[in-house]
Symmetry: D2
Subunit: 343 residues, 4 copies
């Protein structure tokens, strides 16, 4: 059994990690750490856990993670790196769900977040986008779990980028996310009356996930590229659907794309290529799947890609567990085979 600790365990992502780890056959949770819920039992703070778990939140102390094989950090960026450092120093595998270990380029990170305090740790870390970076993940002690938007966008684009099939300056990612992506917010803007029956774009041209997507897409393409990314807020709780546009640099039809995507992802359980119809949010809800479909607009020779994930699972807790499975040489699917609740 792998022993796991979760720091920042009472937020939406932390609780989702607990929910998923409880059903993992090879994991034992040894501590759940949250200063705000310190001493409270999870079946009190989150009654959905009644009869299933009575784990008790505790404050962070080094002893709380001493027993763990793997430490999950579900903390805000900036703060997270402090705990990653502590875990790293005592030899733990650390899977960080903040932005702190997602970048190779410190300047990109500094520009969009803040000065990194432990740049030396970055070289020990891998970007945890499992399908793209599996080998690096196996060898790293720190894994920077990707952002939710970047997961949907990069996996949707990877086969095209790797095969250099698109004009690198033409990429537009129009993403729509459920509200849980904002985390457990005590903010009027996230209140029911402000969001139900509403829809809006936000942080247009300014969202921090843009630089993460650009860095990784540039690696895949082999050249630096810039792209446009526009996030929107859907009146749903879970899920991201990204509609991605790119100009094809040669005539390719939909059948060619099906073949290219099927080949690129042929060994990937969690990638589902939709050949006939298009993916919808409800098919991935509650799962670790990435559903990808596409059309070619012949008039403009543009490809339109639809890429869907559950932001809390493949976009956060599920991918973190997939990374753990990779790192600890378990079956990558373990604990993560789920059919969406659909409704």
């Amino acid at each position: 059994m792998i022993k796991a600790s979760i720091i920042g365990a009472s937020g939406y992502v932390g609780v989702e990690l607990i929910r998923l780890l409880l059903r993992h056959p090879e994991v034992e949770i040894v501590s759940i750490i949250s200063s705000s819920s310190n001493q409270l039992s999870i079946d009190k703070t989150n009654p959905q856990f009644k009869k299933v778990s009575n784990l008790v939140f505790e404050e962070f102390k080094i002893e709380a993670i001493q027993e763990a094989d793997v430490v999950f950090c579900a903390l805000p960026h900036g703060i997270s790196q402090e705990y990653v450092k502590i875990g790293y120093d005592i030899g733990k595998v650390v899977i960080d769900l903040s932005a702190d270990f997602r970048y190779k380029d410190l300047q990109r990170y500094a520009k969009d977040y803040s000065q990194h305090k432990y740049p030396e740790l970055l070289s020990k870390s891998a970007y945890g986008l499992c399908e793209i970076n599996r080998e690096e993940i196996k060898n790293a002690q720190i894994i920077g779990n990707p952002g939710c938007y970047p997961t949907s966008a990069i996996l949707g684009l990877a086969p095209l980028l790797k095969n250099k099939l698109v004009d690198k300056n033409s990429i537009i990612i129009d993403s729509k996310s459920g509200v849980s992506g904002a985390g457990k917010k005590f903010d009027f803007a996230y209140s029911f009356c402000e969001l139900d029956e509403n829809f809006k774009a936000y942080s247009v041209t300014k969202h921090r996930h843009t630089s993460e997507i650009e860095e990784k897409c540039s690696f895949l393409f082999g050249e630096d590229l810039n792209l446009s990314f526009t996030p929107h807020l859907l009146p749903v709780k879970r899920g991201i659907l990204s509609t991605i546009y790119a100009n094809l640099i040669k005539k390719i039809d939909k059948n060619d794309l099906v073949e290219i995507y099927n080949e690129f992802y042929k060994d990937e359980y969690f990638i589902r290529i939709f050949e006939d119809e298009l993916p919808e949010l409800k098919y991935v809800r509650g799962t670790n799947f990435v559903d990808i479909g596409f059309e070619v607009d012949k008039k403009t020779n543009r490809v339109i890609i639809i890429s869907c994930i559950d932001n809390l699972i493949k976009g956060a807790a599920g991918q973190a567990i997939q990374n753990m499975n990779i790192k600890f040489s378990l079956d990558e699917k373990m604990g993560l085979i789920m059919v969406g609740e659909y409704f």
Copy 2:
């Protein structure tokens, strides 16, 4: 491994049965039967199953269920009894999710549904409300899985009825259900624009579940009783919350009730008694739990009980599997331990 067939497998309840049985460690699905989806693979008709199952729907033939140990019938009442009879005659355990095997009193059934064609089979059947009727279930070849509203109402009332603590003529059940309770409807009244941001009562004084609830509550109380039941339609997909009112026949406070309910359900994993706060729909969503809480209104000496279930799980597919577990002497919780997705 227990071999299972599902007849009527393409409706909302049928698909939920498939989803849940796929994660049951001791069950193998041998056939999924649906005339409307005949020959189609479930990952085509319901893309949420992609990569998890490629079971193919088939038309009903006796051979299709020959191999099964247990047959689940998720068909409309009236039609269902025909298939139950066939399954019964060839010696299968049959778990029927229609109303056809829920009643002891044929006249109640005839009045609210239609003349029963196989009354002799009723004596071979048990009402599948697991927590109340476990011994009978073990010994029956046919199990009539309870209605969704009755499950929430009867389990909420049972400790009071059994202990004769309430005025038998004072019971009022005000229930609110998610839309999936209506099944897979091709009906304008269930369209998004007609239901979203809406709320309504329906079938007031006329809903068929009333007689089912009355029959079972009368058994528990030991005398015939009449009650009022009012269903409402919530703009949510899953879940039933019943608010139940009854006049107490002696002074009892909330602490007494907590004790009575805890004692009554002390061995029941799926019943969760809320002592401090009150249950909410989101805590049971996606689970087989029944969450029960209550308050005593001292001025009127009335008890108010809140009882929540997921209508598709404890109210249908989950309870059917719980019945199967009972009947086949498996751990009753097998395949049914779940923390709700919450959001």
Copy 3:
């Protein structure tokens, strides 16, 4: 033109008052008062007003209401009475939307809210339930606008109470409200992820509107009565549907009730009696109507009444304007004739 000031103008009810008063042909808004939005223009704080109004919020000063004929107070109880007193003292008609002027019995108010500071003003005030209390409203300088739940409950029950047709100890009011009823809340419990697809009861046996409903129902019945009131939170933005139960003291059928209600409300434009079908939330959304329907449960001789309102209009801002129309001898419907948006 009647000149109106609104104190507490930036909350949900205040903004709704502004929206409705702007379309009233005989009203001119002379000041909108809000300390939190002081100096801001409403088309900045609430962009839905762009191009329609650029009224500017100001802080409270006596001069700000000096010009007004009528002052609406949309402030929290306790605080509100201070401003009502000021308005009263300088001779303004004051319509108060808090609980401060709803009670005749100071002890009820003190028990559920706090000690009233200006009991002498209560005798100058009328309870502003227009259809029941029109004459008193005409003669009062202060009008205590009813609570949203009480409006739906009392108007649903009035014909039965006035005609003494029900057992006074048998009344149960099971109400379901949209989220805007909680006001403009900066509270995690009202965030989208906590409420969407959820449903819950709250303040069971303890909600403060119980005593308001009891006082007014007792007046109508002519004897003191106690009742049970259970509020629930619907995942919709606007609207209250109350399902009301009472034991009839003689055999009455639905047709009799239709006649009684039609007679009782024969001159009331805003009351719509549903004879055939039942009211639904969507029919009243965005209007000042009260939709009432009913069934008689013959087995138990119980009446079940469905009463629907828009909590922000008939339950708050609309009824306040209706009170103003009454007080200033305008056509009671003026500015309030609306067909619901439906969707």
Copy 4:
């Protein structure tokens, strides 16, 4: 008073027309025509109209529109042109809400819809996008009311196209619509359980509104252009938000754009330019406004435009009335000044 008839009056758009015309001070509705609701009173079929209107639906006969000055046709394309022809032939002003009179190019229409039966009538018709085509509308006897998506897209792009500021081959329109845009559908795909908490793209590269948008944008730009248009289905009832991308052909910053848009729309009441923040669906719900905001992505020199409308009002019934106002030389805003209900 202008006398109006509505053909196809029982669909979502027809009912919205009735709702809005009832509040228009210079309009009298003389007939509402619907074969499916023939002889029924609108307060029976649509109870939200109780106490406000008891207009009775009738079957189409020439006499039913004889008295009208203006005939609104809210029928499916293909069928609609038959009724437009009848109305035209007896000299009525006809405002058609189908696609039948939106195109100048008959081949575009034929390709996406069907062969037009009355091409000679097209030359008598004007495209009813009020802000762009006011003069033509004044002089036409037939007005082809624009599609909902085209209204949001074209008005969002017009200032850029007219000023030739964008690369004509770079335009991408990513639109998200509420469900009422699909009309009153009796289709399983539009049922609550299939759409709530879901989100999807549909008709990607194939939606018929593409050719309407292209034709009108080409006129504005002065050259033929092709663009990509992707519609999506939001789990809300009303509203369209279009996110529009285009490459700028010279360096322009956001302030320049504000100036260009303010200048272009300086006399347009229904266009609201958002200079600081971005528009959201909730600000336009229930109104005839078009809310437009934008950002410039400096890295890619791309403009991102957000354009919001209420699909049933500015996208259908409201714009039809605005066209009527123009045609009959009324104040263009008459009957259409509304603040959105917001929630």
